[in-house]
C-alpha cells in the first residue's frame, strides 16, 4: 500500500476573484516522484505555491481548503505550521534558475545561515555533500568563492536544487526545472532527480513527456480544475501534455 505524504482536500485558489483551482482533491505518494501535467495556465504552478504557501506573497491571491502534510506520522494542516518552518520542510525550485548574487559556497550555505547555524566545519561538510548530491562538486570545487551567477544555466539549476536540498526537506517542489535549459543540462537534471528518488518526496511540474515518463512514479493531470491520475503509458506526446 502506498504511503501518502500530501493530502489535498477541496482546495480552491483565486487570483483577485477569478478561480484558478476549484475543489481540488488529490494525494501525493511519499518518497516518490509525482509529476503534474496539464495545459498551460491551468494552475500547476499555483498548486505548487499553495503547498508551500508561497501564494501568500502574491497580492490578491487567496486559497481556501485543506492541504495536509505528513510529518513524523501525523498529518498536519500546512496553515497551522509557522510558514518559515513549512518552507524549510517543503523546498521549492523555480523554472528559471535563481542563484543569489553571492558566491557558490554562500548560496548553498544560505539556508543554514537562515536557520542560525554558525559551525563553520559543519557548514563546510554540508555544502560539500549537497554539491556532491547535485553532481556539481567536481565542476565547482576549485572555485567555490566565485560568483554563482558565473555558472552556466544548467549548473545554476543544479545549484538551486542543492541549495533547496541542504536542509533535507521532506518535500521538494520543482516547477518545470528543465524548461529553460538545453538538452545536455536537462539530462543532468533528470539524472539528479532520479537520484533524489527515495530521499524525499518530489513534486514536479513538467511539460516534457520524456522527462515525465522517465522520472515519474505517479502522474497527475490537472485539467479544468481537477486532478486526475494518469497512467505513465497513456502519456502520448509533447503536444498532448502541453495542450
Amino acid at each position: 500500500m502506498k504511503k501518502i505524504k500530501i493530502r489535498i482536500n477541496n482546495l480552491n485558489c483565486f487570483y483577485k476573484k477569478k478561480p484558478v483551482l476549484k475543489d481540488l482533491k488529490g494525494e501525493m505518494e511519499e518518497k516518490a516522484i509525482t509529476t503534474i501535467i496539464g495545459p498551460s495556465g491551468v494552475g500547476k504552478t499555483t498548486l505548487l505555491m499553495a503547498i508551500n504557501r508561497l501564494y501568500e506573497s502574491i497580492p490578491d491571491c487567496r486559497v481556501e481548503g485543506k492541504v495536509e502534510i505528513k510529518l513524523n506520522t501525523k498529518y498536519i494542516d500546512i496553515h497551522k505550521l509557522p510558514v518559515t518552518d513549512l518552507r524549510k520542510k517543503v523546498g521549492m525550485v523555480f523554472q528559471v534558475p535563481n542563484p543569489l548574487p553571492m558566491s557558490i559556497f554562500k548560496n548553498i550555505a544560505f539556508p543554514l545561515k537562515l536557520s542560525g547555524i554558525k559551525d563553520k566545519e559543519y557548514i563546510k561538510e554540508k555544502v560539500e555533500q549537497a554539491l556532491k548530491d547535485a553532481f556539481l562538486w567536481d565542476e565547482v570545487n576549485d572555485r567555490l568563492n566565485d560568483s554563482a551567477l558565473e555558472l552556466s544555466g544548467g549548473q545554476q539549476q543544479r545549484l538551486c536544487i542543492a541549495r533547496a536540498m541542504i536542509m533535507q526537506p521532506e518535500v521538494l517542489l520543482l516547477d518545470e526545472p528543465t524548461s529553460s535549459l538545453d538538452m545536455e543540462a536537462a539530462l543532468k537534471i533528470t539524472e539528479l532527480l532520479k537520484n533524489l528518488k527515495g530521499k524525499c518526496t518530489l513534486l514536479v511540474v513538467s511539460h516534457y513527456t520524456s522527462l515525465t515518463k522517465e522520472i515519474s512514479d505517479n502522474v497527475l493531470t490537472l485539467k479544468d480544475g481537477c486532478l486526475k491520475i494518469t497512467e505513465n503509458s497513456k502519456i502520448v506526446d509533447e503536444s498532448s501534455v502541453a495542450n
Binding site: S57, D60, R87, K88, G91, F94, N98, A164
Partner: protein
C-alpha cells in the same frame, strides 16, 4: 512608420541631446571664465594662514572655508536623517503597505515631492518659532532645523527609488529567500536590499545633489553670512548656496561678484566629488552583487 517621420524623430532626439550638452558646456565655460581667476587660497581662507584655518586654530572670517565646511556637514547630516527614513519608508510601501492604503501614500509622496523648497523652508522656520516659544528660548533657526528640513526635501527621491527598485524585481527573485524558509524581514535584509543596493544609491546621489544646491530651505532655517563653522547642532552656520545667493543679490564690487563665481565653481566641485564617490560605491555594489547598471 513612415521612414521620413522616423528620420525626423531621430533628428529631434539628436538635437535635444546636443542642446543639453551645449547648455551644460556653455554654463561650465561661463562659470570657469568668470570665476577661475578668483580661485585661490585667499578666496577660501581669506587672510588667515591656510593650515591654521584648516585645523581650526584661527577662525576664517573673510574666506569661504566655513561655508564649504558648513555645506559638507549639512549634506552629510541631511543624508544621515534621510537615508534610514527614506529606505524604511520605501520598504514599507513596497513590501508591507496594505494595497488599499497604497494610492493614498503615493499621493502624499507625490505632493511632498512637488512642494516648492521655499515652503519646506518656511515650514522649518515655523517649527523653529514653535520650538522657541514652547520648548526652549535657546532654539532658533539653526543647523539642526536646516538639516531636517533638507531631509524632508530629499525624502521622496530616496523613498521612490527604494520602493520602485523593490517592486520591479522579478517574482522568482523576490521569493527566492522566502522559498528557502527566510522570514519576510530576512528576505528584505539579506536578499532584496543587497540586490537593489546600486539602485538605492542612485536615489541617494539625487538626494545629495538636491541637498547641495538648495538655497531656499537654508536661508529660512539657519544659514547666515558670517556665522563661522557650526560648533553644535543648534548653531547657525554658513553654506555655499546661501553665500552665492547673498553675494549675487547684494554685491558691492566687481571683486565680490567674482568671489561669488569662485564659490559656484567650488560648490560644483563639491558636487562632482560627492557624485564620484557615490558612483564608486554604486559600481562596487553592482559588481559585488553582479547587477548591471
Amino acid at each position: 512608420m513612415n521612414r521620413f517621420v522616423e528620420y525626423q524623430i531621430k533628428l529631434f532626439c539628436w538635437i535635444s541631446g546636443i542642446i543639453l550638452i551645449c547648455t551644460i558646456g556653455i554654463l561650465l565655460a561661463f562659470l570657469l571664465h568668470k570665476g577661475f581667476s578668483s580661485l585661490n587660497l585667499p578666496l577660501i581662507f581669506g587672510e588667515t594662514r591656510p593650515l591654521d584655518g584648516l585645523f581650526l586654530k584661527t577662525r576664517v572670517v573673510d574666506g569661504l572655508f566655513p561655508a564649504i565646511v558648513g555645506t559638507l556637514l549639512l549634506i552629510l547630516t541631511s543624508i544621515i536623517w534621510a537615508i534610514p527614513t527614506g529606505v524604511a519608508a520605501g520598504i514599507y510601501l513596497a513590501e508591507y503597505c496594505n494595497e488599499k492604503w497604497k494610492p493614498g501614500f503615493n499621493l502624499l509622496l507625490d505632493i511632498l515631492a512637488g512642494i516648492p523648497s521655499i515652503l519646506i523652508g518656511l515650514f522649518g522656520f515655523a517649527v523653529s518659532v514653535f520650538l522657541h516659544k514652547h520648548l526652549s528660548e535657546h532654539i532658533y533657526p539653526c543647523f539642526l532645523i536646516s538639516s531636517l528640513a533638507l531631509a524632508c526635501l530629499v525624502l521622496p527621491y530616496i523613498i521612490r527609488t527604494t520602493e520602485q527598485s523593490l517592486v520591479n524585481l522579478p517574482f522568482f527573485i523576490k521569493t527566492t529567500g522566502l522559498a528557502l524558509g527566510a522570514s519576510r524581514l530576512q528576505n528584505i535584509l539579506l536578499i532584496l536590499i543587497p540586490y537593489n543596493l546600486s539602485r538605492i544609491i542612485s536615489g541617494i546621489i539625487l538626494a545629495i545633489g538636491r541637498c547641495a544646491e538648495d538655497a531656499a530651505v537654508i536661508m529660512l532655517t539657519g544659514a547666515v553670512a558670517m556665522a563661522g563653522i557650526p560648533d553644535s547642532l543648534l548653531s547657525r552656520y554658513e553654506a555655499l548656496p546661501f553665500y552665492i545667493f547673498y553675494i549675487s543679490s547684494d554685491y558691492n564690487s566687481q571683486e565680490e561678484l567674482m568671489k561669488g563665481f569662485g564659490a559656484c565653481i567650488i560648490l560644483l566641485l563639491i558636487c562632482v566629488f560627492l557624485f564620484a564617490l557615490s558612483h564608486i560605491l554604486k559600481r562596487r555594489a553592482a559588481k559585488r552583487f553582479a547587477i548591471h547598471i
